[in-house]
Every structure is written in structure tokens, then in C-alpha cells.
């Protein structure tokens, strides 16, 4: 056990009464220091455990914190031990995750697959004492993260529901689906645009093609393009993200060819504006006032600019159908637009428009899964009384 006491008080300590209890006697060191590989990681972590020093809270010289040191050689002089972390006092048993970096050239590289030793110092006001060496431990990475089992279960149950209801739908069992005002308005709105001979403005939002809300919006765009081709109504699709531009072009062309009019597709109907939020909105607002579209459809990811679009659209007197999964923007769409698809309804829109049995099956699966989630909440609340730590473990995902 190595003790070193270096007094912090400069020689000229003035009045004694307030600093009397600052003895130089070091606190007792922590005990039972042990180390083992950190589970569920990429081989760059060791978990260090130790019991509190007898001076922690009760003893002569209160411990304020513990410092964890690491070395590759057990008998290295103390100055070669590397400080890895600090933990405040106040518990009976302590644990510290010593985590480093994966690639070799980084400063904080954690040596993988070699014996590593630990010492823990109990530190008081200005003295400290260091424990003996821990056992040797080796960091290694694992092939399955056990803490993510809960996610695996939730995903597999969802997968199971979806497969089951797709088969049910394939056997031709008709599935009831409640009416969705926003979607029924799409056909009516396109008809209105045709009568007025005005274009339809379709905005896919500020998301990139990797945002699932944008992907859901593509499927609606495909259906709208097919109808627009049949009714010979112009369509305008100003895009914010270059990849969304390419995929939107592809989707609208498909809609026109589905309606048997591939050559009616005009090149400039799907066009790129810019990748900056408010410059994009300035341009789209300008287009709204000049082209006076009869119908504006906003489906996808929207941020602070949602109200700018919706309120300008309201001035031009067009029917506005909106839908997003950005919860912060839903209030503005609900207030300013005629119809709003709230969160999950945006994702159900493609099912409503295609009405293919398989898609209806996936929607049915989603509903049953909601019942499953409500069941889990109920079970969790009851389970909390009987096995709280099991519940903690289930939801401790990292």
C-alpha cells in the first residue's frame, strides 16, 4: 500500500480554527479492487469494481473521491500509472467503465487483448492512498450485444405480425380501414385543380432521401402523378435535396407511364431549388404567388418553415393537404391547412392510395402491434411492483 501525503496548505496558514481538521493523515485505501472485460463493447473497455475505503463518509479523514489508474506492467513505479478517471464518494460499492478508443493512432487507444492492471486511490482533501493491484484483465469485443435483446424482441414481434397479416391479406380476407380525410381530399383536390386549369404544387419537405418520411411521401407522389397524368393537369415539384430530386423525377415519370402518357411528362415540372432552408421557402412562396396553384400538398419532413408555406398557400386560396412526422410542426399544419396527416397517418397514406391486399396487411399488423405496445406498458406497470430490477435490466439498452 503506497501512501504519499503532500500538504497543500502554504506555510503561512493563518487562523487555525477553520482549517483545523485538515490533518495530513491519508485515508485508508479502497479494498477488493477487481477488473474484468467490459461486456457488449468493441473490445476497448474494462469494468473496474472496488469497495469503499473505511474512511468513506464515517472515518477520521473523509474521502472526497476515488481516482482510477491503469498500467500494462503490474510492478511499474506509480508515476508510470496512467490516470483514467475519477468517481465521487458516497457509495458502498463502486464501479468504473474504463473505455478507450478503437484505432491505434488515436491518443486514447485502448490496448486490446493484453493484460491490463488497475489501482484505485482514495483521495481526501489533500492526501491520498493507493490500493494494491487488481487482477489482470483482457479487453475483447463480443459478437452480440446482450443489452439490445429487448430491441431484437420488439423487432421480431413486429416482423412476425407483418408476415402473418400479409398471408391473411393474400387469402383474400377483405380488411376494413377507417376513412382518412386527408387522403380522400387528394382526389377531390386534383379534380379541382383540373377544373381551374391551375397546377398542383407537391412539396416533399426538407428531408433527404434517407428520411423515411420522405420515402413515404414518394409513394403518394407516385399516385398523384398517375392521376395528374390522367387529368392532364400540370404538376410542380420544387426539390430541396439533390437525391430527392432524382428519385422524385423517377417517381413522377413512372406515374405518367402508368397512366399511359409517358411523353406528356414535362422535364421542368420536377426541379431543384437550393439546399438552404429559407432560400428554398422564399423561392416556393414566390412560385405560389405567381403560379397560383389550386392545390398544395406538403408531405415529408418539415421544420420551422412549415407555417411560412402554409400561410402563404392560404392567401392564394388553394386547398392544402399536409402531413409530417415532425411533432413540433404539426400544430402549424393543423391550424393553417385544410387537412393534416398526423405523424403515423403520413406513413399509412401509401396504403390508402394503393389498397393492395399486402399493404393493407402491413397496416393491420401495425394496429395489432399498438395493442402489443399497450399490453407491454400495462405488464410493465404491474411488473414494476414485483420485479423492479428485472424491468431496469430490460430497459437498460446501450
Amino acid at each position: 500500500m503506497l501512501t504519499a501525503s503532500v500538504s497543500a496548505q502554504p506555510a503561512n496558514t493563518s487562523s487555525a480554527d477553520t482549517t483545523a481538521q485538515m490533518q495530513a493523515i491519508p485515508p485508508a485505501p479502497p479494498v477488493n479492487v477487481s477488473a474484468k472485460d467490459r461486456p457488449n463493447d468493441n473490445g476497448t473497455g474494462i469494468v473496474v469494481k472496488w469497495d469503499a475505503s473505511p474512511d468513506d463518509g464515517a472515518g477520521r479523514n473523509n474521502v472526497v473521491m476515488y481516482k482510477v489508474y491503469r498500467s500494462l506492467k503490474p510492478d511499474a513505479p506509480f508515476k508510470d500509472w496512467v490516470l483514467r478517471g475519477q468517481v465521487p464518494f458516497g457509495k458502498r460499492q463502486y464501479t468504473y467503465d474504463d473505455v478507450g478508443a478503437r484505432d491505434k493512432d488515436s491518443k486514447d487507444y485502448f490496448p486490446k487483448g493484453v493484460d491490463v492492471y488497475y489501482r484505485v486511490a482514495a483521495v481526501a482533501a489533500d492526501t491520498f492512498s493507493v490500493s494494491g493491484n487488481s487482477n489482470a484483465a483482457v479487453a475483447s469485443d463480443e459478437w452480440y450485444n446482450t443489452t439490445r435483446t429487448t430491441v431484437l424482441v420488439f423487432v421480431l414481434v413486429f416482423f412476425g405480425f407483418t408476415l402473418y397479416f400479409i398471408n391473411v391479406a393474400k387469402k383474400g380476407k377483405t380488411l376494413y380501414v377507417r376513412p382518412l380525410a386527408g387522403i380522400e381530399a387528394v382526389d377531390e383536390a386534383i379534380g379541382r385543380a383540373t377544373e381551374m386549369g391551375k397546377p398542383i404544387l407537391y412539396i416533399l419537405g426538407l428531408g433527404s432521401a434517407s428520411d423515411i418520411a420522405t420515402i413515404a411521401s414518394f409513394s403518394v407522389l407516385g399516385r398523384v402523378a398517375k392521376k395528374v397524368a390522367e387529368y392532364q393537369t400540370p404538376i410542380l415539384v420544387p426539390c430541396y435535396d439533390p437525391i430527392v430530386l432524382t428519385v422524385a423525377e423517377e417517381t413522377v415519370k413512372t406515374g405518367y407511364s402508368d397512366a399511359g402518357r409517358p411523353d406528356d411528362y414535362k422535364d421542368d415540372s420536377v426541379y431543384f431549388v437550393t439546399q438552404s432552408q429559407f432560400a428554398y421557402v422564399a423561392a416556393v412562396n414566390g412560385t405560389m404567388l405567381r403560379e397560383r396553384p389550386a392545390t398544395n400538398i406538403y408531405l415529408g419532413k418539415f421544420y420551422a418553415e412549415s407555417l411560412l408555406l402554409a400561410e402563404t398557400g392560404a392567401v392564394t386560396g388553394s386547398i392544402q393537404i399536409s402531413g409530417t412526422d415532425e411533432i413540433a410542426q404539426l400544430p402549424f399544419f393543423v391550424v393553417a391547412c385544410d387537412y393534416t396527416l398526423i405523424g403515423e397517418e403520413l406513413y399509412a397514406a401509401s396504403v390508402y392510395l394503393n389498397r393492395e391486399p399486402i399493404l393493407m396487411g402491413t397496416l393491420k399488423a401495425q394496429d395489432y402491434y399498438k395493442a402489443f405496445v399497450i399490453g407491454v406498458i400495462a405488464l410493465g406497470l404491474i411488473g414494476r411492483m414485483f420485479a423492479p430490477d428485472l424491468l431496469q435490466a430490460i430497459f437498460n439498452i446501450h
Binding site: 439490445r148 429487448t150 430491441v151 431484437l152 420488439f154 423487432v155 413486429f158 380488411l175 376494413y176 380501414v177 377507417r178 382518412l180 432521401a209 434517407s210 428520411d211 423515411i212 420515402i215 437525391i243 432524382t246 428519385v247 423517377e250 431549388v273 437550393t274 439546399q275 438552404s276 429559407f278 432560400a279 428554398y280 422564399a282 423561392a283 412562396n285 414566390g286 404567388l289 405567381r290 413540433a328 404539426l330 400544430p331 402549424f332 393543423v334 391550424v335 398526423i342 403515423e344 397517418e345 399509412a348 397496416l363 393491420k364 401495425q366 394496429d367 399498438k370 405496445v373 399497450i374 407491454v376 406498458i377 410493465g380 406497470l381 414494476r384 424491468l391 431496469q392 430497459f395 439498452i397
Partner: protein, 224 residues
Amino acid sequence: MGLTEILWQGLGVFFTLAVLSFLYKDNPFYKFAEHVVVGVSAGYFVIILYYTSLRPSLFDKLFLENTWTPTTGHLHYLIPLVLGILMWTRFSKKWSWVSRYSIALYIGIATGVSIPLEMKNRVIEQVRGTVLLTDFAWSKTGMLGLPAGLWDVVLIILVVCALIYFYFSKEHKGWFGGVAKVGIYTLMIGFGASFGLTVMARLSLFIDRVQFVNNWVSLVISKL
């Protein structure tokens, strides 16, 4: 503040007023500001993405600094380079279908990541919040003078009602319809409140613009 600085800021003030004129009606000043910012911002992003993403994460890995001699060890970065160039097949009508390979990978990776991640971040996290974090403290005085535990129970009931509102495959009639109605009313109260909350933040945006113009005007007056 030199004269040129004042002139440049004056340009900023001009554009501020040009955009505010949109409130009255569409006019040449707004059209000018709109078309300028579209061009300038598009150009800005070309430069920013080139310097901050394309060079560091691709060119610097493939080629030694500022020379065309290829580095070793990063050859697997040739794949994204090829996929990126495949996107350019869209310039030609005939070969544009080749770009589907890049788009396929782009969307495949994005959707694949979302399945477990969104299940955890959105669904499991909310269930955890509802199950673990509500402490049903009946003794503690909660909001509106009623016990805190009561509001935890009300919260869970409202979450279930709102979830039921989103049911697609069941007729919203009878008791089921009633529960769904409670759900939609919860949503509407929530939307109304968040609308009201943002009024203050949006007003201060306009206040900042007024101060920007005001500072410039008083600066010019003081210089005259």
C-alpha cells in the same frame, strides 16, 4: 466602421426590407431578393460541401495531399467514388437507369439503419418513460393542488387514448369511438399549447430584425 462596411450592411438592410415587403404583396424587390438568395445559397453549399465533406472524406483518403498520387490503404474508398460517378449517369436519358444502383444502396442503408434504431429511440424509449419514470407519488402535492400520482395515471390513460385514435383497421364507433375522441381532444390541447408557446420565440425573431435595421439607421445618422 469604415464606409465600405456601412455600405455592405446597408445592402443587408435593403434585403431585409425587400423580404418584409412580401407581407404586402409580391413585388420586384422581393422577386430580386428571392432569386439572389437562391443563386447565392446554392453556390455557397457547393463550396461548403466540397471543402468540408467531399475533400476530407474522399479525395484526402484516395490521393496524397494535393497531388494525384493515390494513397494505399484507403482503396476501399474507390467504391463510393464509383457509386458517386454512377449518379451522373442521370445526365443522359438513355443510361439514367444505371443510377438506380447508387440510389438503391443509399435507400437500403438508410432504411436498414432505421428499423432497429427507430424502434428503440421512439417506441421503446417512450414505453420506458411511461413504465419506469412515472413514480405515482400520491403523497406529493402535484399540479393544481392535486396529488402528483393522479396526474401520472391520467397521463398513461391519455397516452392509450391517443394511441387508439391512430387505429386504422377498426371502426371508430361505440366505446372505441369514445376513447378515440378523448385521444383527438388530447392531441388538440397539445397542439394548441405548443402553438401558443412558440409565439414569443417568433416575435423575438422579428424584434432582432427591427433592431438590426434600427442600429444601421442610427449609425448612418450619427455619421452624417
